[in-house]
Symmetry: C2
Subunit: 251 residues, 2 copies
Amino acid sequence: MDLSEAGRELKNAVQSKKLAILVGECEVKYWGRAASRLPRGKRLLLVKGGDNSLSIHQNTKIRPVNYMMDAVISCAEKDGALLIRAEKRKPAEKIEVVFHSLEHFKAFEMEGKNDLRLFGSEKELSDSLAENLSFIEPGLKPVKREGILRKGIVDILAEDKDNNIVVIEVKRRQADFNAVTQLARYVEHVRKIKDRKIRGMLIAPAITETALEMLKSLGFEFFNLEFEISNPKAKIKGLEKRQPTINEFLK
Amino acid sequence: MDLSEAGRELKNAVQSKKLAILVGECEVKYWGRAASRLPRGKRLLLVKGGDNSLSIHQNTKIRPVNYMMDAVISCAEKDGALLIRAEKRKPAEKIEVVFHSLEHFKAFEMEGKNDLRLFGSEKELSDSLAENLSFIEPGLKPVKREGILRKGIVDILAEDKDNNIVVIEVKRRQADFNAVTQLARYVEHVRKIKDRKIRGMLIAPAITETALEMLKSLGFEFFNLEFEISNPKAKIKGLEKRQPTINEFLK
DNA sequence: GCGATCAGCGGCACG
DNA sequence: CGTGCCGTTGATCGC
């Protein structure tokens, strides 16, 4: 397929929300939040009609070397080459792809559904944990939220057997500096509202040495919790209740 | 091309480090850091021989719905379908893609070079700013970083006209909570080492209201600096030195 | 629309 | 290798 025909077909594909694939010699320029130039070379251009996003891929990496989402896409011929322009505003950005030669063009009708089911998100783990707080510590109970703490910010808000407030931050992977400073922010936040002793607790499958140091210096606690995906399960030496795991479930 | 031939061709493509493209009806399962299931539907599978990475794309979004890098990829037939397995360890992960029908298969020889030139990274902006500190404040001078802090942690370490240490954190976009807590960590770190007055300064094109609040409460300063990409240029009312911008340069 | 946070973050650079 | 942190972060959810 020659370049000008590919241009018409691409226009058509975008119109009808198809997925278009182009492979060929091209160069790419980008202006926007940053700026970049990609000299001439063979690449894959993906135009997704489902949401007018566009990516330029090389033969390595998961992420595209150039991309734009919610783009206004247009084609033109220029000096015998195929010029594909993608533009958007907010933020103002522009991509120009110039194909000097095309090795492959194809467009596919696609279904629009996005029905990935993901297990083991932080929210899932956190919710599951909130229902089993006594596993963390006897007498630990979730507390009713109000006002500014109503939702979203603090992962879990609890109360221990001595009526202290416990601010809990859950991480699905190894906790780092950022996790600790987040917890610190939330604890400070709660201190301003509640006139009670506030404990800060970080729950994660692991924590970096330096983050643990900082956590301790702030007087907070770390609880090591190994997650079997979709079911939180504490890794406490010798004490292990057997539960079906998501890995087994999916088998 | 039928499924079994596609399997052989894919194996061949991986062997010879080609870029392989498959479009067809498939379902995807993933086990690893999390777990996911993607029911049967038409999708695009990208296998990049350059680094043995693999992505499954739908007709929306920049990011693939499933993916793996540095994978060990294998093909097999199973109940008349094409089963593509991707595995890796560290972390242990597995993807199974089952193609029930194939609408398209193609593999491309690709060059291995990755020669994107990017302008406007934080490091570039920070370096450029470090050479023009007097623009921020008269008498502000960079101080040799070696021996004071592990290099790379603090964006810029400077000294003002009164011999105070100024810890500077640069952000290429709107600064948020994280930027402030980062700065706070660095300032704390420097305080322990230097027995001098330490100023903390955040330089960014914008800052969220709440982050500014927190910044002030910590006694730090915010300097609004609008960046013309690749050339930092302060947006101070009335005071503007004209310089060619990267946008003009790339024109 | 902006703000805040998660992500199977990915990717990179330094120790 | 791990640790930290940037990213044209992207994607999501609540306000």
